[in-house]
């Protein structure tokens, strides 16, 4: 009996070690398999989609900048609902941009309208969360906690947390450059443990902070190359502006691996996706079939990206393998 228990223990340890090697070192290839394509040149389902999110049933929600709408597709890609029109009233848009799903609600931002509009799963307008700052990225932590990244001039380098009334109560400081506030432009993700992952839009820098905002690591994937910049002649404001993007978007899979979409500095601009594990180790890089401005990974590990210059949304299954 003791012998059997010892054998069992050895088996468990051996399995754990091999799994560690599999996920930590030997998992060096990712293959994408297209499973769905929404929108084509001949139909009117998508005109120029800007962002995508998904719910737990596999429904896909998209913002479409060309017809000022938000759209809901089922997991087979059939359009279920369309809402919105051009305007500045409730449920209306001028430059609809980001979209996030959280517990039955859809949160939407607009580049020309401040704040966040909230809709239900049937795209019925529910409420508006006021916020005077421009929103570069946001993440719903809870119904009363929304983390927002905003490239502010006055207080550079913060991701703030607001409540459902738009009141700011928590700041996460990560970087400060008063002279060139654009260097603080970050996109981010927050995992289930409250760890914060940031990618800098115009700098070759990826960082992780724990839930107490202590920096755990900082990585560079592009040889610390600098984006092209041009001088500005304005007396007030930044002395130079970026002409390229280092990193475009970030997503987490259900193992908390980071997927980072590269920008102009990548070997395949706007197509290379870098995959890092929780410790910041670069596991692999794969290349999207077409350039994209954003990526999204849902809870079932499907990846969504752009195609057809924004008229098509593609869904891929992510297959992990060994090289």
């Amino acid at each position: 009996m003791k012998f059997i228990k010892l054998l069992f223990l050895i088996l468990i340890v051996g399995l754990s070690v091999s799994l560690h090697f599999l996920w930590g070192k030997e998992q060096k290839e990712i293959l994408l398999e297209e499973v769905l394509s929404i929108g084509c040149l001949d139909d009117d389902s998508l005109f120029m989609w800007a962002d995508v999110t998904t719910d737990l049933k596999g429904n896909i929600y998209v913002t479409d900048m060309m017809d000022y709408s938000i759209k809901k597709f089922n997991e087979r890609g059939i359009l279920m609902k369309k809402a919105g029109r051009r305007g500045q009233g409730p449920g209306e848009f001028i430059a609809v941009r980001l979209i996030e799903y959280f517990k039955g609600l859809i949160y939407v931002t607009d580049q020309s309208i401040s704040g966040i509009q909230v809709f239900d799963e049937d795209l019925n307008y529910k409420k508006h969360i006021p916020l005077s700052l421009p929103i570069l990225d946001f993440e719903i932590i809870s119904e009363e906690m929304i983390a927002v990244s905003s490239p502010q001039i006055a207080n550079p380098g913060r991701i703030i947390v607001i409540d459902s009334k738009g009141n700011s109560n928590v700041n996460i400081k990560h970087f400060g450059d008063m002279q060139n506030f654009w260097r603080n432009a970050v996109k981010f993700e927050i995992d289930n443990q409250g760890n914060l992952y940031t990618i800098f839009t115009f700098e070759d820098k990826i960082e992780k902070f724990d839930r107490n905002r202590k920096k755990l690591w900082s990585k560079s994937l592009l040889g610390k190359r600098k984006v092209k910049r041009r001088k500005t002649r304005v007396k007030i404001g930044p002395s130079e502006l970026p002409m390229e993007v280092a990193y475009k978007d970030i997503a987490l899979d259900n193992s908390a691996n980071l997927f980072i979409l590269g920008g102009h500095l990548s070997k395949n601009p706007s197509r290379d996706v870098y995959v890092l594990d929780k410790q910041g180790r670069h596991l692999t890089t794969f290349t999207l079939p077409e350039s994209s401005h954003c990526i999204h990974v849902d809870h079932r590990n499907f990846l969504y990206a752009r195609a057809g210059e924004g008229v098509t949304l593609k869904k891929f299954s992510i297959k992990y393998g060994k090289k």
């Binding site: 009117d44 005109f47 060309m66 000022y68 430059a95 210059e309 008229v311």
Partner: protein
């Protein structure tokens, strides 16, 4: 060059990309043609589109959609596959027409006829035979310019030779 282009637009009746099938009326019958020259780049500038959108709404509210035709000027994003690039632009144009409730036909300037017609952004060419006006305007438009564009003189084409 101008005479040829304007004459062609004025005398042809044709189908164009629009939310509805429309035929542009003959210039000789209605005496007036408003050509809105859209720059595709302005589709991505919400503030730039504000005044254009207001103009299109005013055009509709004054029942002058039938005098209007749009021309979309663009640069091909894929020089190697211009046909595909054209289809992508056509699709985005459909979205723009639907999103902005455009009621007049809009055609793609596929042969880049209007490309160098001294518009830095979206603009208007007005042909008004009754008032003998041939002018171009850039957005944003002044009230005086709007009055000039929307006014017209009722003329019996049988008498105006």
């Amino acid at each position: 060059m101008w005479t040829l282009v304007i004459g062609l637009l004025g005398s042809l009746s044709f189908k164009a990309a629009s939310g509805r099938q429309r035929y542009s009326p003959s210039l000789s019958r209605v005496q007036k043609l408003i050509v809105i020259v859209f720059d595709f780049k302005s589709f991505f500038c919400p503030l730039c589109l504000d005044s254009v959108k207001d103009f299109c709404d005013t055009l509709h509210s004054r029942d002058q959609d039938e005098f209007a035709i749009g021309v979309l000027v663009y640069e091909s994003s894929d020089k190697k596959d211009e046909e595909r690039s054209k289809k992508v632009i056509e699709k985005k144009l459909r979205g723009f027409i639907i999103g902005n409730s455009i009621q007049f036909p809009v055609i793609l300037d596929h042969f880049h006829v209007f490309k160098d017609l001294i518009f830095e952004d979206t603009g208007i060419i007005l042909l008004d035979r009754s008032r003998k006006i041939l002018k171009k305007y850039s957005f944003p438009l002044t009230n005086k310019q709007l009055d000039e564009i929307f006014s017209f003189k009722d003329v019996d084409p049988r008498k105006d030779r």
